[in-house]
Symmetry: C2
Subunit: 355 residues, 2 copies
Amino acid sequence: MKKHNFYAGPSILSEYTIKHTADAVNNFAETGLSLLEVSHRSKEFVAVMDEAQALVKELLDVPEGYQVLYLGGGASLQFCMAPMNLLRTKAGYLDTGTWAANAIKEARLFGDVEVLASSKESNYNFYPRGYEVPSDLDYFHITTNNTIYGTELREDPDVPVRLVADMSSDIFSRPVDVAKYDLIYAGAQKNLGPAGATLVIVKEDVLGKVDRAIPTMLDYRTHIKKGSMFNTPPVLPVYSSLMTLRYYKEMGGVKAMEKIDLEKAGVLYDAIDNSKMFVGTAAEDSRSIMNVTFVMTPEYKELEKDFVDFCAARGIVGIKGHRSVGGFRASLYNALPLESVKALVDAMAEFEKQH
Amino acid sequence: MKKHNFYAGPSILSEYTIKHTADAVNNFAETGLSLLEVSHRSKEFVAVMDEAQALVKELLDVPEGYQVLYLGGGASLQFCMAPMNLLRTKAGYLDTGTWAANAIKEARLFGDVEVLASSKESNYNFYPRGYEVPSDLDYFHITTNNTIYGTELREDPDVPVRLVADMSSDIFSRPVDVAKYDLIYAGAQKNLGPAGATLVIVKEDVLGKVDRAIPTMLDYRTHIKKGSMFNTPPVLPVYSSLMTLRYYKEMGGVKAMEKIDLEKAGVLYDAIDNSKMFVGTAAEDSRSIMNVTFVMTPEYKELEKDFVDFCAARGIVGIKGHRSVGGFRASLYNALPLESVKALVDAMAEFEKQH
């Protein structure tokens, strides 16, 4: 049975990415060696790393003065690396969910943190707006998409200070005005590749301004100087990421992905809004097009587990909601076909009819 | 043409590891999903992580009180994590090569470092012995195998303080008395799996004794508490590592690997010692069985590049020595078949005859 993969991350990747990765595990770039056992210093892998950096610059239209890095350790490591490299006295953060709160916790180890707005009181069900960003901050940090709570900021804020964004779960789902940011980071395992690599886009001239001693591996300048090859990079995750980037380019770039993403999210939100059984959890003006969170209305609540099983029987996996929200979460990352969204919407209609 | 893969890391993996990884990229554990796109919280991957930890305990006979972790970021990240978690005032290090020196550099950010012995003056061509380990150190750090310089310590030292070891390039090549160590770490990409995961074996009761605030991701206790699932682990590198561990178990465990490794190294060192053209660079009592470094004698020196090409034409790859030593380095990791060593030895004999 064909599976419909709604996992929140690691999550669905394009067939192109999977096929080419499987091929390279058997024989990488005609070397006669597996991608798993080839030196990162081989000319074939150096070409992969170079292209993986260049394609990010091309697809996101990254201006001069920025560097693209592939690091290990996950986006969670960026929660401490960002302040370690940028925080002198005070930073501002938006508290928009679990990951944002984790980022805030780490930043507090390195300086003062002002939480400029928070939606915590209402279980993070909206993306705050109308806050002021003081001009004396070293930087302002946002989490553009909140995977668990299904909220998203689909615009690039204008702020009077440096802007840092965790775009782990919505990067490549829309064109981004990179020039407005000083640091962007994203775990690969949603719209880019398998788990194990973290994409970093950093404006070079914001670095080197803090007084603290930064461990070599946690200093962005280390990795810039060596083109992400200071130490052995996560070879396979970088290769798979390159395959996804090539696929995006072939599909027409990030703008084309956005069009499809908007369509897919539209289909699912319409189904939710037209249902008497299902109800969305995120405020309408904050709805994510990557992660759609919804629950059953109180009178049907006890059927939630049944619906997960009902879906599983139809090959629909990964829709159980995170325990912080309950209900369901359907992640509609770039690689998810519209066909899968339709399968889910059909299942919802069918289940509603049966009850 | 069949390739003979002598890369220093990432390096050759068993056919078993490669085949099963390729299969899982197509269909992981009968889920109908690729290993690249499956949630790390799925029961199928949780089982992988559990077994990957259990098999390390079994193969290395890890005593009670120790935890096995799979982390991202590479062994280079451990150079700062180890002192961050263990260094209160003073640590002792052996300076036995480039990686040891890098570890020393990071430790100095967190306290005093006493270098108890160094072979730097002679371009790290021997493994120091006969040094004293003062009893007032927080820990003593060794690099058991020096990949670049071809030296190795094939015993577990008795010291009056905590013992920390970087075993990146020789773990699983011999039985280790884990009880003598408090922290062992190893980048996966030599004897375990593809790049992107780092194996850590840590004695739990040595943690939590330092006063500094440790960033969450850099605190071993974070990962112990969550069984290496605090954040998304490097899924595929962990899976491939498990395949290698299963393969080791099937082959008879670490003792069986050691027997084969000793035989392979013996064949190559004999060829070097019986040659008039090639000469080993490491002192005899310090020779590594994982990385064999050798050069041409002065009268043949200019033929070194020719020999690399001569080997390449025979499918022998990865033997160019690191620039710090020059000449050649043949890495004989566990997965390298004896047949490949014989191919190299034959090439050496043939080349010598021709010149």
